[in-house]
Amino acid sequence: MNTDMMTGNLAAAWGARLADVDYVPAFPITPQTEIVETLAKWCANGDVNARFVTMDSEHSMMTASGAASATGARVFTATSSQGLLHAFEVLYTITGWRVPLVLVNVSRALASPITLEPDHNDVLAARDSGFLQMHAETCQEVLDSILLAYRIAEDPRVCLPAMVNLDGFVLSFTREPVSVPDAEQVKRFLPAFRPAHLGFHASAPQALGTAVLGGATYSYFRHQMHLASRNAFQVHQEAAEDFARAFGRRYGLLESYRLEDAEDVLVMSNAFASKGKVAVDAARAKGRRVGLLRLRVVRPWPGDAIRQALHNRRGVAVLDQNLSPGLGGILYQEIAASLYHDKQRPQALCSFIGGLGGKNLSEGEFQSIFDRTEQAGVRGTGIGPVLLYTEAEHREMEQLQFLAHELKTRG
C-alpha cells in the first residue's frame, strides 16, 4: 500500500481502476473532466482493461452505462451538475433495471446563474431516483467509497446503482495524501462481477424494463427497490467491516466528530464538513461543548442512526449546502422527519443554508451558528431557514449591482 498526493478526481479514477471495471462510457463536464481524461489514458495504455467510449450526451452516457451493466459488465461513469440533470430521466430508468453500476458525481451548483463551484442541489435532486448515495469528505474517502459502492451495489440483496459524491474544486482539484490499496487485496474485498440475474444471452432471452399494466404491478417493483435500498444498511455494515479489516479505515453510515459529550451538534456533509470540524475545534477551545455529525450515506437514509446520534442534544443545526426555493434546506427536512417520533429528540432543530455555489463558510458564520443554535436549544424552539450571507459579501454584491446598473444606463 503506497501513499500518493492526488486530487479527488484522480482518487475517483483510481477507485474505478482498482475495481477492475469493464466499461467506461463518458461525457466531459467541468469539474469532472480529470476523471474521464485519466481513465481514457489508462484504458488506452492497458493499465485498465476496459473499453472507454465518449458518448453524445450525459443522457446517452447514463443509458449506455445502464445497458452495459444490464448485459453483465462492471460499469463506471462520472458526471456533474447539469450533466446529472441532463441524465435525470435515465437515472430513474436504470434503477428500475436493477443494475449495480457506480456513478461519481462531482458536485457543482446548478444554473441559472451558471457557475462551476460546488453545492449539493445536483446530487440531492437525484435522491429519489433509487441510486444509493455516499458523500465523501476527503480524497481518500472518494477512492474507498467507490470500492465500497461496488461491493454494496452488486450484493444480491441490493442490486441498485450507487452514486459517490465529491465536491467540485474543493475536493476534485485539491491534492491530499491518498493511500492506494493493493490491487490483490481489493480483488479479495470486491469479488469479480458475475451477476446471475443480468445479461442478454442467445440461449436465454429475457425482457427488461417492460411496461406494466396497473398500479399493483408497478407498486410491487417500486416497493422492491425501496426494500433493496433498505437492505443496503446491513450490507454496508458487513462491507465496512471487511474494508476496515483489509485496509484499516472504517466507515459508518454517519461520522461522529467530538460528539460524545456535545450539547449542541452541527450536521454537515461532504468536503465543507472539514471546515465544520475546524470550527468545532475552535469552539471547544473556548469551552463550548459542540460536535459535528457528518452525513455520509444519504441513500438509504440512515434515520435510526441519526436519531441515536442526536438523542438528548440541546440544539442541533443542520447546515444545508443546498436550497429548495420556497422550502429551505433539503437535509433539514429529512432530519426533522426522522426525529419527529423520538421522545428524546433535541430541544431545538435549526436550519442554516450556506456554501451555495461554493460560497465560503467563515469562522464568524460558524460562531454565529453555534451561538444561535445554543440560544434556540435553551429556548426550546428552532430557527430557520437562515440564509448565511456576511456583511462583507453583501457590500461586494451591492458594488456589482451598482456596476451593472452603471454599465446598463451609461452604455
Binding site: Y23, D56, A68, S69, E89
Partner: protein, 311 residues
C-alpha cells in the same frame, strides 16, 4: 455497383420460421408490426431488441412478450445509446472470455418516428458516427401514435393530426413537409440503410439479408400504415402500404456506403388515390377540394422522382 442476385424471388422462398407471434396489444392492422414480423424472420431469435418509447413499447407488457428474443425498454431519446452499451458489453465480455461466443446476440433498436426523427437524433447520430454494429428499425407511422396521434416531424404535409388540426384559418392540417430522415442518416455514411414497406415483403427481407453482410450501423425506415391514426379500415393496411409506394410517396431504396439505389420503380399513380384512402387527408377533398394542397403533394413527388431519374 455490382449487386448480388436476389435470394427471394417468390414468397415461398422467404424464411418460414416466425419470431413474432400473434397476440400483441397493438392495434389491428398495424403496418409497423407487419414490418417487424417480416424483419424478424431474417433477424432470427438471437437478438436483443432495444426499444424507445412508442407504440411498440406495448409489445412487452409484463409478463408477456410476443418475441422469442430479448428485450430492453429504454427511453424515448436514447435507445441507440443503450444499443451502444449492450454491444460494447457483449464485445468486452466475449473478449474477456466471460461470455461464450455462441451466446452473442444482434442488437436491434426499435423506435417510432417521434423518437427517430427528433428526440433520439443526437443519440442516433452518435451511434452511427461511432460505427456501432447494430440495426436501427424505425416504424414510421408519421405521427406520435401511442399518445393519440399528434403531429411529428414525420407527419406529411396536408395530414390532419390532433395537433395539426384542420380549421377555417388553417385548412390544410400539417403545413410542414415531412423531414427527410433518410438523407440525415445518409450524411453519416452508414454502411447500409434502406426504406421498406411490408407490402413488398421480398424487397424487405432481401434488404435485411443484405444488411447482415455489413458490419456497423444498418438503418431501416419501415412504412407503418396506421389505421388508428390515419383513419382507415384495418383491412386496408395492405392497400395503403402498396399505394404509398406506387404513387411515389414512399420510395423503396437502399444506400450502401451512402450510394443510393432505388430497389423498385413505382408506376407513379396519382397521389389522390392514396390520399383518398385515409381519413387524415379527407379535408383535402371534402367539403371543398383543396387543389393547391393536393398539387403541392403531387409536385413534391414529381420533383423527387425527376431527381432520381436525372441522377
Amino acid at each position: 455497383m455490382d449487386r448480388e442476385p436476389p435470394r427471394f424471388k417468390e414468397r415461398h422462398q422467404l424464411p418460414r420460421a416466425e419470431h413474432l407471434f400473434p397476440g400483441t396489444p397493438l392495434c389491428a392492422g398495424c403496418g409497423g408490426l407487419e414490418s417487424l414480423r417480416l424483419a424478424a424472420k431474417v433477424l432470427g431469435k438471437e437478438v436483443v431488441y432495444v426499444n424507445a418509447a412508442g407504440c411498440f413499447t406495448n409489445l412487452a407488457t409484463f409478463p408477456f412478450t410476443p418475441l422469442d428474443a430479448s428485450w430492453l425498454y429504454t427511453t424515448m431519446g436514447s435507445a441507440p445509446a443503450a444499443a451502444q452499451g449492450v454491444r460494447d458489453a457483449l464485445d468486452v465480455l466475449i473478449a474477456k472470455g466471460r461470455l461464450p461466443r455462441e451466446e452473442n446476440v444482434k442488437v436491434v433498436v426499435l423506435g417510432g418516428d417521434g423518437s427517430t426523427y427528433d428526440m433520439a437524433l443526437s443519440s442516433t447520430s452518435g451511434a452511427i458516427s461511432r460505427k456501432l454494429d447494430f440495426y436501427y428499425v424505425c416504424y414510421d407511422n408519421e405521427a406520435y401514435g401511442n399518445t393519440g396521434v399528434q403531429w411529428s416531424p414525420a407527419t406529411p404535409f396536408g395530414a390532419r393530426t390532433t395537433t395539426s388540426p384542420c380549421t377555417i384559418q388553417s385548412p390544410v392540417g400539417a403545413t410542414q413537409d415531412k423531414k427527410d430522415i433518410f438523407e440525415i442518416w445518409r450524411a453519416h455514411k452508414p454502411p447500409y440503410m434502406a426504406t421498406v414497406s411490408p407490402r413488398f415483403p421480398l424487397d424487405l427481407e432481401e434488404k435485411f439479408v443484405r444488411a447482415a453482410g455489413h458490419a456497423g450501423p444498418k438503418l431501416f425506415l419501415a412504412f407503418a400504415a396506421c389505421p388508428t391514426g390515419w383513419l382507415f379500415d384495418p383491412a386496408h393496411t395492405p392497400d395503403v402500404a402498396r399505394l404509398a409506394v406506387e404513387c411515389g410517396l414512399w420510395p423503396l431504396k437502399e444506400a450502401v456506403d451512402g450510394e443510393v439505389i432505388h430497389t423498385y420503380l413505382p408506376t407513379l399513380t396519382p397521389v389522390e388515390e392514396y390520399l383518398k384512402l385515409q381519413g387524415r387527408f379527407r379535408h383535402l377533398f371534402e367539403p371543398t377540394r383543396q387543389d393547391a394542397a393536393i398539387r403541392h403533394i403531387q409536385e413534391r413527388v414529381a420533383f423527387y422522382w425527376r431527381q432520381v431519374r436525372e441522377s
